[in-house]
């Protein structure tokens, strides 16, 4: 236990917003947000601010986001988006 705890606490406190999405809302938005980041067509930090704000506060949701993103990156053989699938849009 050291001042690293205070630093982490203050990081979280200073990044606190009046309204934050829940872990369930984060999970619902996760697939579309990861695809948007991988598509690299929008500034996801701005377009998906509430989602990323939640990730900044919640280590387990952040882990799941990073794991899904890294997994998709590692799967170049994944079939492309099949015809008829709708375009991805910010959640």
């Amino acid at each position: 236990m050291n001042s690293r705890f205070i630093e982490r606490l203050l990081q979280q406190v200073s990044g606190t917003e009046a309204h934050e999405i829940s872990c369930s809302e984060c999970f619902e938005r996760l697939p579309a947000c990861v695809e948007l980041e991988l598509a690299d067509t929008v500034d996801v930090g701005t377009a998906l601010a509430p989602f990323f704000q939640h990730l900044g506060q919640c280590g387990v949701c952040r882990d799941e986001y990073e794991m899904l993103r890294d997994f998709l990156r590692s799967q170049p053989e994944d079939p492309p988006l099949a015809p008829g699938s709708p375009p991805v849009s910010p959640a």
Binding site: T16, P31, E35, M67, P86
Partner: protein, 249 residues
């Protein structure tokens, strides 16, 4: 454990039962999977007979791939990970993810690929299981104990380097402690202590308390909001305090 709901058998028990009975079939290789549109996935998973059985078997192959990836990565990264059968765990996670997906098929909005949506369930299951394995030998009751030296240790850690900075740090920490003691509930202090200081995963604390991830997150959010507003009311800017503690002395 999913974020909002625990996986449970599908309401149409025949569907899950049919799938469960096929677990002995060797898994389909992901290189031979049939590409499907989102609507084809939903339609075929909802259909009966051989069409549904084929879609279920192929979806399970996708889920198993994601679960294996997540468990292998988590196993290497989690310092407290015990030796456990990764492959068996991956099979279980894929199966639980499949049941959860069938249960929530109507919730799929189509704003991502179906497979990405499905992977999110497998990865959630795998990381929840990995965290459970990693923390199962740790006594959360002991960590939740707020009495003891943890506060004093932090205070002593502020005493080094530049005397003026040390003095400002000590004052800031005294105010933070005061707010935590006076304005936060015991439950909020416990949650902050174990999640921020001890780095216990939020879902592990939720499991220990018989609560949910959403409820523990809200508890922490309320605590953070209170800390922030009380600090500001006393003239402290949390970002300036962060600089005070994060920059080297």
């Amino acid at each position: 454990m999913l974020v909002s709901r625990r996986p449970r058998p599908h309401r149409e028990s025949g569907r899950a039962a049919r799938y469960t009975s096929s677990r002995g079939i060797p898994p389909v290789g992901t290189d031979t999977l049939k590409p499907r549109t989102n609507s084809e996935w939903v339609r075929e998973l909802s259909a009966g007979g051989e069409t549904q059985a084929a879609a279920l078997e192929e979806l399970r192959a996708y889920l198993l791939r994601a679960a294996r990836y997540a468990l292998a990565r988590a196993h290497g990264r989690l310092t407290r990970a015990s030796a456990f059968d990764l492959d068996q765990l991956a099979q279980d996670c894929a199966q639980n993810a499949l049941i959860a997906i069938l249960d929530r098929l109507a919730d799929f909005r189509g704003d991502s690929r179906f497979t990405t949506w499905a992977y999110s369930f497998a990865i959630n299951m795998a990381l929840v299981a990995a965290r459970r394995e990693s923390w199962k030998k740790v006594s959360l009751d002991a960590l939740l104990e707020l009495r003891g030296p943890w506060g004093r240790r932090i205070e002593s850690d502020t005493r080094f380097g530049d005397p003026e900075r040390t003095s400002r740090r000590a004052e800031a920490w005294r105010v933070i402690q005061e707010i935590m003691d006076r304005d936060l509930s015991e439950r909020q202090r416990q949650a902050l202590k174990v999640i921020v200081a001890d780095e216990v995963p939020l879902d592990e604390l939720a499991r220990h308390w018989g609560s949910t991830r959403n409820a523990v997150y809200k508890l922490l959010h309320d605590a953070r909001r209170k800390l922030k507003s009380r600090l500001e009311a006393r003239g402290f800017d949390p970002r300036e305090l962060l600089d005070l503690f994060s920059k080297p002395t």
